[in-house]
Symmetry: C2
Subunit: 210 residues, 2 copies
Amino acid sequence: MPVRGRPRGFDVDEALERALEVFWRQGYEGASMTDLTAAMGINKPSLYAAFGSKEELFRKAVARYAEQDMGYARHAIAQTTTYEVVATLLRENVLAVTRPDRPAGCLSIQGGTACSSENGGVAEFLAASRLAGERALADRFARAVSESDLPADANPAALARFVMSVTEGQAIHAAAGVSREELRQTAEIALAGFAAVSGARRPATADNAA
Amino acid sequence: MPVRGRPRGFDVDEALERALEVFWRQGYEGASMTDLTAAMGINKPSLYAAFGSKEELFRKAVARYAEQDMGYARHAIAQTTTYEVVATLLRENVLAVTRPDRPAGCLSIQGGTACSSENGGVAEFLAASRLAGERALADRFARAVSESDLPADANPAALARFVMSVTEGQAIHAAAGVSREELRQTAEIALAGFAAVSGARRPATADNAA
DNA sequence: GAAGTTGTGTACCGAGCGGTACTGATCCGA
DNA sequence: TCGGATCAGTACCGCTCGGTACACAACTTC
């Protein structure tokens, strides 16, 4: 059964994409409906009909972001060794937060770490989604312990927290204008430090370039 | 020569302190004049007479924050060895971002990493002040190289960027509700990693507790 | 006490906020 | 060709935003 009534005059995915970038650059509260509709090329009633409200639009933007901009994290976790997991995560993160065709930094931080009391839910939502990613990494490290890829006395949660802290700091640096090459150096330091501290075996093939 | 005219009915420092906490919790754009004046216990005209504008108030709050909440950073840089500098910085940072009598996290991040276009200067101002701190740390590391406390081939700027990235990530974690003890574990991992990678000598007295 | 100076409180400004009612326009199936 | 359904666009809602005019209160100096 095809659509009934007048068809939409714009592409919902494309409009969401534009909104995503506005939220990314200006944060949730810093992005006004006027900014959003201007970037999306539609009028307010169309936005509300298609997305419900500003907050729903934001959550859909974050979901889209997680799917297409955070794919590297799932790819990283799927690596076969702990070292490769972390190496992939840190290096891909550098690329992700400095993509020339995207705003600098990371939406889940730029979106808003602090909000007015009425929008407090937005900051909490972003924090929860970041911590969910961290938990996935901690689970991956726990598996590595059970596979003897990490020592039995390793602390998976703390190691994951360390790696995520670095990526978040890198995202903030990127948003401040720090270059990809500079962040790459930092990522290699973090990776080498992780390898030295975690007890994860570093592969014989030296693929790093600090 | 004493004051002329009616004396002020409130303490400017105390009012600035209250404003500081509101900005810290809600960010620059998330803190409305109503929120601020309510917390400061004064009316808007008094605020404008004493502080000029919302943005000036914010900058004064950040200056106050740098002076009294970031003092640990100056203390850290003044340590005699690179290891002690980094150990102090990372450990004191954990305490600073989880002080029970303060909002969680760090004002220079919570204040706003992304803003609307008209308030873009606020985010830039915060980014610049963070990078200034990083440069001071890089200078300290450069001195350590010249003192042979770090290897001649060490990259002071990259090492400083790594340490600051960790502290920023820790601040974001704290704002998300992560506990002091959890952050302490992460700080020890970062410290041990830094020691292993930088070539900084670790003191014989083992004062760490990962 | 009067004059001059400065802070306080109320009441208000224009502008922009997020969100919506309503009129037409545009499609479908019959 | 007409009725039903859906979307687009204008024009507007109440509200809050940051910021201020103005009358009054409180203080010092003469």
